[in-house]
Symmetry: C2
């Protein structure tokens, strides 16, 4: 067992009062070597923080001192020694080393600065994500992302949702359209799935009642923006016997719970990022599509007519309007024109030009789309046709509606966007470890 | 809010003693209509169980009775009525209905039997997975799979692992070889990732220390067996400052915890499947590759020489041998020949023909592979070359080893195989909702 030899404690888990004069091992990156002649400090960094190793020339074996002085920044070491309380050192202690083991020596120069002193541009950081992650800010983002996923699953599991995995290799475009990556699947053509939509709906017919999935989705759109990627992580749910209001309630409660858990469990990371979070107030404000159009037009920067989709500019106008009125960043836009939404959104019975669909918005961008779905197979087939799609390609899906399909609703929310809006991060590439866009396929 | 109108309770959540004479709504599938003339029973099925609706001719509005009698099996209904304790009915109660709402009428005949009375073959069940899921056994499997995923995440999170998402669209084959699905990625060729291996290792250089990922992996192998699919769910970890023994300990403890949680939380589902589970004893037995060869040859069915990989037959021979000796189904085979394992497995310093790698086996099949990894960039490069691969294609990965890469180890375990071996399911297609193999791309 290597671990117990190389590391007994993370640097932040050594309590100087309790552990004074005890022997410990820490392991990590050489963050800094400060050689003042009579005394040499080596700062070791690990995931949780930093610890100072102190070598006083007069009291140290010359060979050990030489080794310490020669350490190249960002190399990997394990240090075993005795803990001494030292108020001026990180975490209030220093380690007087008995042994320093060099486990991997870093080359110089480093491909980028990791101290946060020199700003690197995004492309440099993404090219060297393994270095970028050594910046406190980057690790903080991905630690919070972990907490977000944990909170999402905890919330959905305890709300009766069953986790599912549906295929990413599919024969048919989920929502029609052309934004698909083709795959050579043995001797056939297949596609990367745009969303688990059709599969999660089929599971409603199967009686799983409430399902969720967290996984990759793939869109071959040629966009080049700060909030789109060609591969993203989507959080999807579907729930039986629910309308759009039922699933909106689940969504707003989940988002509030996620904020609550991040605040409770990630205070150090939020501090590193300089982010002060508040739990969004529920229920989120609901404005209708009609009201949204009126708001946009009232500001005079755009002139929208009924049936138009909302532009990015419109979304900002509405988001700022809602924020100024309520002080809240999250809200719903409901009751969209049926023609603007995918074929599976359920039209209102008494007003079929409107659909039981919604977008959940953050002040700065759309986070989620959802709806009560059509559960009548004939209506669904005719909606597929009216969007210019061939129902034959959807037969595997339509069959699931003919033998007992409950009314149901659901939504998908972009995990990456949820994290970026929470943390005020401006580019989605900053919350995805190895982003994929039209130009970037590596690392 | 539709839900509160259609369903106040799951059928199994109505307590006949506490809720006698109270009004409830249940919603689900018409499981059975038994019309005895003077009395008519409608059994409603939902995810959690069944409830009986009773209509006595003399006491029931004729229109309501007509509606009940006309219900087609597997249609969707919501029933509102009053609870009466009735010992002979499922869950000990019956509902005297005030209202029956037909929400979706099933066509006849049904594409397959869902009562469990008639056996359907696997292909029929997969073609109509939405019907197959209405069988108690199928739902039980996928409910247990949910519990497995929940337990895995809970265990890893509380062991300090950070959940990550790495790309599925990649430029380079993870482990060389030809078993890749090509994608047209805009104007370039890309591939579906075979495993998160290279990415999770790069994250070790980034300092995330311990990471996990649960996600799809894709292998274009043309196998046609009961335990391979071309798209599968893999559970992957990587941990810094760990050798193979450290990560084996994490693995066996995780598997034991998963069994423990399934036993604690899925007793009803285990009963439906007729499975009696016991938590595997830890630590799992470790046998060396050399011992494994000796065991196989001692049974005389095969004659293996040092350096051969283990065939399926060998795995069964060894698995049965270990089971007969110890009564345990899980064990490790360690210290494999370096040449049999991928380039990133670390050779023993004093015996480089052996590697610090392991397979974790179930009596019936391999579940997991892992190793301490090479963390020296020069050694890694030369191993890549000696396996006939071009290091230039791995430059994005090798860079992460040159600027401070800690020693590290990890493993991947097939989620689907973990579930199938736990439940004694013989075909992997029975534990995957919508399996993908060479012949099956739909639904």
């Amino acid at each position: 067992m290597l671990l117990k030899d190389l590391r007994t404690h993370y640097t932040s888990k050594i309590d100087p009062a309790e552990m004074a004069d005890k022997k410990v091992s820490v392991a990590g990156w050489v963050h800094e070597v400060r050689d003042l002649g009579g005394i040499c400090f080596v700062v070791v960094r690990d995931r949780e923080g930093r610890g100072q190793v102190t070598l006083v020339k007069k009291k140290t074996d010359p060979e050990l001192l030489e080794k310490a002085r020669g350490l190249v920044r960002e190399s990997i070491v394990s240090v075993t020694g005795v803990v001494k309380p030292e108020a001026k050192a990180p975490n209030g202690y220093e380690i007087i080393p008995e042994q320093i083991t060099l486990l991997n020596e870093a080359e110089s120069p480093l491909p980028m600065d990791t101290t946060g002193k020199v700003d690197a541009d995004l492309d440099t950081r993404l090219d060297s994500r393994f270095m970028d992650l050594r910046r406190e800010r980057t690790t903080a983002v991905f630690t919070i992302r972990h907490e977000v996923l944990k909170a999402v699953r905890g919330f959905l599991s305890s709300s009766g949702f069953v986790e599912t995995s549906t295929p990413k290799v599919v024969a048919t475009a989920t929502e029609g359209g052309t934004s698909l990556f083709p795959i050579t699947y043995f001797d056939r053509e297949a596609f990367l799935n745009q969303s688990p939509q059709l599969f999660k709906q089929m599971l409603m017919s199967g009686g799983l009642d409430r399902v969720f999935e967290i996984g990759p989705i793939f869109r071959a759109e040629e966009h080049d923006t700060r909030r789109h990627l060609n591969e993203a992580t989507s959080i999807d749910i579907e729930a039986s016997f629910c309308d759009h209001f039922d699933v909106m309630e689940i969504l707003e409660n989940m988002v509030a719970y996620v904020y609550d858990q991040v605040i409770a469990n990630c205070s150090r990371q939020l501090e590193v990022l300089g982010v002060e979070l508040a739990v969004p107030q529920t229920p989120f404000m609901k404005i209708s599509y009609d009201e949204a159009i009126t708001i946009v037009n009232s500001y005079g920067e755009e002139s929208l007519k009924w049936g138009d989709d909302l532009s990015t500019l419109s979304e900002h106008t509405i988001g700022n309007h809602v924020f100024n009125e309520t002080g809240q960043s999250h809200y719903f836009i409901i009751d969209w024109p049926t023609e603007v939404k995918p074929f599976y959104a359920k039209p209102y019975e008494d007003k079929p030009e409107l659909s039981k669909s919604f977008d959940m918005m953050h002040r700065t961008m759309e986070l989620s789309s959802g709806a009560q779905r059509i559960h009548d197979p004939e209506q669904l087939k005719s909606r597929i046709e009216s969007q210019g799609l061939n129902p034959e390609g959807f037969e595997f899906y339509l069959r699931a509606f003919r033998y007992g399909m409950p009314p149901h609703g659901g939504w998908g929310i972009g995990c990456d966007r949820l994290v970026m809006t929470m943390l005020g991060v401006e580019n989605i590439r900053d919350v995805v470890l190895f982003p994929r866009d039209r130009r970037r396929l590596s690392p």
